[in-house]
């Protein structure tokens, strides 16, 4: 019968789809491919619940199809008498109240301990304070031996917990809040998401099993470029991580007169970049990302663009045009100024 076949096809498509999800090669934000303990814990909780749901799904849809086929009115040929006027059946109804309740109790018994397990503070973590801005992420490594500030790309050593504090109470020296609107920090393959809320402090932990680049993005609607507020978690071996920390601790490159980047270095203050961006030892802007080692990152502008001179030039030409709602204004830079600034930025490794 058409009813059954088509509904079967739909069910099949959904099933195949789920399988395909599991096998998809290029789904870098796939929650079903966890690569850290938190995400795996969640996955281990979700998958059995999914299968329980799948059984109930098959049961209900199967019964529907059987009933539709078996009891359908065959018109003239149908010689069945009128149906029995059945008003209910206490035992059955009791049964299908209690059985789901028991199943749900089992699910609850698995869920509640996991909630507390995931909320537990890790031992000996790397502490990172994350602040969401429209539309980029700021990371402050608060451990005294690290003390690094960077943006969009979170570096982390493999096998060690990163304890993230999403601090919405931080204030700038003038007393205004660092945080603007609500953002939500999410690296699907490492953990679920946690909101960063102005005026509140939230925590989450991240840990990667193997080195790699784990993509994520903001998941709370935060304005025009919510879609463009992306991020990367870069998990490295401890040695690589230490090397990265050392790089980040180096003072910023300072071009000297005669360097090709020197003109850009001067433009950086004269065209207003310095008003918003910090370059350690040079400027102290508090609005945009810290650029001290910007060119050591693989991407910029909320991990929207890969880092390259061409992309930087494109960006500087008209930031809000590239990323709607960007708080970096169009400074109407000339092509010459842009190439000088890019030359300077390239030195900030």
């Amino acid at each position: 019968m058409g009813v059954s076949r088509r509904r079967g096809a739909v069910a099949l498509a959904v099933g195949i789809g789920l399988l395909m999800t599991a096998c998809a090669k290029h789904a870098p934000q796939d929650t079903l491919k966890p690569n850290g303990p938190a995400a795996r814990t969640i996955d281990h909780l979700y998958v059995p619940v999914f299968w329980i749901a799948a059984v109930i799904f098959v049961l209900v849809q199967g019964l529907l199809l059987v009933f539709l086929f078996k009891y359908r009115d065959r018109g003239e040929r149908d010689e069945r008498p009128e149906p029995v006027q059945l008003h209910g059946n206490t035992k059955l109804e009791f049964g299908w109240t209690v059985v789901p309740a028991v199943l749900l109790a089992l699910v609850a018994a698995a869920t509640l301990p996991t909630i507390f397990k995931l909320a537990k503070k890790p031992t000996n973590p790397i502490n990172v304070t994350v602040v969401g801005h429209q539309f980029w992420w700021e990371y402050r490594y608060t451990d005294p031996d690290i003390g690094v500030v960077t943006a969009n790309e979170l570096h982390m050593p493999v096998g060690r917990d990163v304890y993230i504090t999403e601090d919405g109470t931080l204030r700038k020296p003038d007393g205004t809040l660092d945080a603007d609107v609500i953002h939500s920090f999410w690296v699907p393959r490492l953990n679920g998401k946690t909101d960063m809320i102005p005026g509140r402090v939230n925590h989450m932990k991240l840990k990667a099993d193997t080195p790699g680049v784990y993509l994520g993005q903001c998941t709370e609607f935060c304005g025009l470029s919510h879609a463009n507020m992306r991020l990367k978690a870069i998990a490295e071996t401890p040695a690589e991580f230490d090397a990265w920390v050392q790089t980040m601790k180096k003072p910023a490159a300072t071009p000297v007169d005669g360097d090709p980047a020197f003109a850009g270095y001067q433009l950086f203050t004269s065209r207003g970049c310095a008003g918003c961006h910090t370059v350690d030892g040079y400027t102290e802007g508090l609005v945009g990302p810290n650029l001290t080692h910007v060119y050591s990152r693989t991407s910029f502008a909320g991990a929207l663009f890969d880092m390259s001179p061409a992309n930087l030039s494109k960006w500087l030409r008209n930031p809000p045009g590239e990323k709607p709602g960007s708080r970096m204004p169009n400074l109407n830079l000339t092509p010459d100024e842009i190439s000088k600034l890019v030359a300077y930025l390239e030195t900030l490794k």
Binding site: H26, A53, L68, P83, V84, L92, T111, I115, P188, D195
Partner: protein
């Protein structure tokens, strides 16, 4: 100022003085505009909601076009945010809620054997206020931009600092106006159901649709004040420099989320319960069996209504409420699945052993059960809190609630449209086109929203206007977009069906074309203005069925041999029932509200104040106007018999003034 007329007294004709001459005719366009007839109001609710459904649908198609592939440029980021906000707001507040109101308005009185609702003019006011609110909100597209903060309007994003335009103001005031409409409607229907039932129509004999509507109206009654407060606080922050959501001043932005979802979660049940009621009416008729476990159905509906108040924070599992609070809300969310599951199994029980006539309304009702089950199951996975932190704010959620709101509510509402269309119009919609509509919609629906589960699990967030290639999302997004256009095609089939039926000259279907079970099928199609020429006496649940059928020893239905009709196929002559008279005041009171709102948004205080004065005048005139006008002198003065007067004293009317 007009003079009040005591109950039961015929006012002297000369005493009538009014600012507006009272409308007397019920014919023509003005007849519709000034009507207080619950059936006409129901039809107007339905038609308006359908127009908004088309608008919301066009918005959905735009969204799907934009997301059909990576890096598309159909909509700008700004346009996308407006369109997705308006899509959600429209479908919830301007489509499903008023569609449910349409059914409740039209059907509740005729299902309980009443001649009208308790407060007919308040009913008209509710409808016009809804329409005024909807038009007001849509006028924002022409006035500088539609709301763009999402249907959930989270602060601080929606504060002046981050949304400086008037977009959000239209949303705030628009929802406030719609809230007034819903609150008056809720009170009206609650009183109607409690107090206007025909003799013998005890609560446990009420049709299940009436029950589910009653629960939904109670949820509205208690949920609306909470969103009212939330919107007022937001208005004070935006218009008058309040600090309710200003973290800088020490406020907690989560206050908004709590208030919004304390309203918003009961709202979900407000949207689904009427559709559940419709499905519970439709399945028994075509299964030729009573609803399986009526009492359990009723109590599970009530249980859902109550439990719906204890689960709101499951929308906030990622906000950092702490493990204790989220455990509690996770538990409550799991256990609300129990009464919901009971409903699904009882529908299966209704089909079991029946003689199923596979008609269009039946298919839509079965489609509801099938699709809603999927939505319910994915809902359980959200109650698994850690899993929800992966799912929330992704397309998995979008998939989930569309299986509930579309696969559930919309399928249920279409079941109702096909089922009751012959009662409302006297004509039968084409079953053939109806089935094409159903299959296109079912396939399109699953193509659109099925893949969204996968997309969500693959990490595609909601509310993004664009996404890059290489995330693995291209294929399923394309499928989803194709599905959306399939749904659109099914709607075209529906419109063709309606128009064809409208212009066809098929004979009147009579009172009871489906061999149905409830009171509304005992009266002519379409029913006369007074519904019941004689007040029905109810002796059983499924009253009409029991008039037609007896049960043999095995409990099988056998048709009674009767020498008198049990239904009234044609409107009898010579029935004089004095119905409430039409009135202008509800209309004036409704359309003054947007004027107040425009005045406040644009800080044109004289406009706001003038509109406020008109509003108060309208409410006063309304309060002092008797619900039934004196007979028109030109019409002769034959005895109209006892009136069906639904007098609304001054006090009750003035209440509407502060119901906002």
């Amino acid at each position: 100022m007009t003079e009040p007329i005591a109950y039961g007294q015929t006012p002297p004709l000369t005493a009538r003085r009014s600012l507006l001459r009272r409308p007397t005719s019920t014919a023509g366009l003005w007849g519709w505009i000034t009507t207080v007839d619950h059936k006409r109001i129901g039809i107007m609710y339905g038609v308006s909601a359908f127009v908004f459904f088309l608008l919301g649908g066009i918005e959905a198609l735009l969204l799907r076009l934009q997301l059909g592939g990576p890096n598309q440029h159909v909509l700008s980021a700004s346009a996308y945010n407006q369109v997705f906000t308006m899509h959600g707001t429209t479908m919830i507040f301007l489509v499903i809620m008023p569609m449910a109101a349409a059914f409740a308005n039209y059907l509740v009185p005729i299902m309980i054997g009443a001649r009208d609702v308790a407060f007919p003019r308040l009913n008209a006011f509710g409808f016009w206020t809804f329409l005024a609110g909807g038009l007001f909100m849509y006028s924002s597209f022409l006035l500088g931009g539609a709301p763009n903060g999402g249907w959930f309007g989270y602060v601080p994003q929606t504060l002046k600092a981050y949304s400086p335009g008037h977009n959000i103001d239209f949303w705030v005031f628009g929802l406030q106006i719609l809230g007034i409409a819903s609150l008056t409607g809720a009170i009206n229907l609650i009183v109607t159901i409690i107090n206007m039932r025909a003799p013998g129509m005890s609560f446990m004999r009420m049709p299940i649709f009436v029950w589910m509507s009653l629960v939904a109206q109670f949820l509205l009654l208690f949920a609306l004040p909470v969103i009212t407060v939330a919107l007022f606080l937001l208005m004070f922050d935006r218009q008058f420099g309040g600090h309710f959501f200003d973290a800088q001043a020490g406020a907690d932005p989560l206050l908004w989320q709590h208030l919004f979802w304390i309203f918003g979660h009961p709202e979900v049940y407000i949207l689904i319960l009427p559709a559940m009621g419709i499905v519970s009416e439709v399945l028994p008729v075509y299964a030729r069996k009573p609803l399986f476990g009526y009492a359990v159905k009723v109590f599970s509906g009530i249980a859902i209504g109550f439990m719906g108040w204890g689960v709101w924070a499951h929308h906030m599992f990622a906000t950092g409420l702490g493990p204790v609070a989220i455990s509690a809300f996770g538990l409550s969310t799991m256990f609300i699945a129990v009464p919901t599951g009971v409903k699904i199994f009882n529908w299966l029980g209704t089909l079991w052993g029946g003689k199923l006539r596979i008609t269009t309304p039946f298919l839509f009702a079965v489609g509801f059960v099938a699709m809603f089950t999927i939505g319910g199951l994915s809902g359980v996975t959200h109650a698994v809190v850690p899993a929800d932190t992966q799912q929330t704010d992704t397309y998995y959620i979008v998939a989930h609630f569309h299986y509930v709101m579309f696969g559930g509510s919309i399928f249920g509402l279409f079941a109702g449209v096909y089922y009751w269309a012959p009662k409302v119009t006297g004509k039968m919609l084409s079953d053939f086109l109806g089935k094409i509509h159903f299959w296109l919609m079912l396939v399109g629906f699953n193509l659109t929203f099925g893949p969204m589960h996968i997309l969500g699990l693959q990490g595609q967030p909601r509310r993004i206007y664009t996404y890059p290639a290489g995330r693995g999302w291209e294929f399923w997004n394309l499928v989803s977009t194709i599905g959306a256009f399939t749904i659109a095609a099914s709607i075209v089939v529906f419109i063709v069906n309606v128009i064809r039926t409208k212009i066809s000259d098929q004979p009147n279907v009579g009172a009871d074309p489906w061999d149905a079970r409830t009171l509304e099928w005992t009266i002519p199609s379409p029913p006369p203005e007074y519904n019941f020429a004689e007040e029905p006496l109810v002796t059983a649940r499924d009253e009409l069925w029991h008039r037609k059928y007896d049960e043999d020893g095995d409990g099988r239905a056998i048709r009674r041999e009767l020498d008198y009709p049990v239904v009234m196929d044609e409107v009898p002559d010579e029935v004089h029932v004095h119905m409430p008279s039409p009135s202008y005041w509800p209309l004036v009171a409704s359309f003054t509200l947007p004027a107040v709102a425009y005045g406040m948004i644009y800080r044109a205080w004289p406009v706001a104040i003038a509109a406020g004065v008109v509003e108060i005048t309208a409410l006063y005139s309304w309060a002092l106007e008797p619900s039934t006008a004196p007979p028109d002198p030109d019409e002769g003065t034959e005895d109209h018999g006892p009136e069906l007067d639904s007098g609304e004293p001054a006090a009750a009317e003035l209440e509407t003034a502060d119901a906002d």
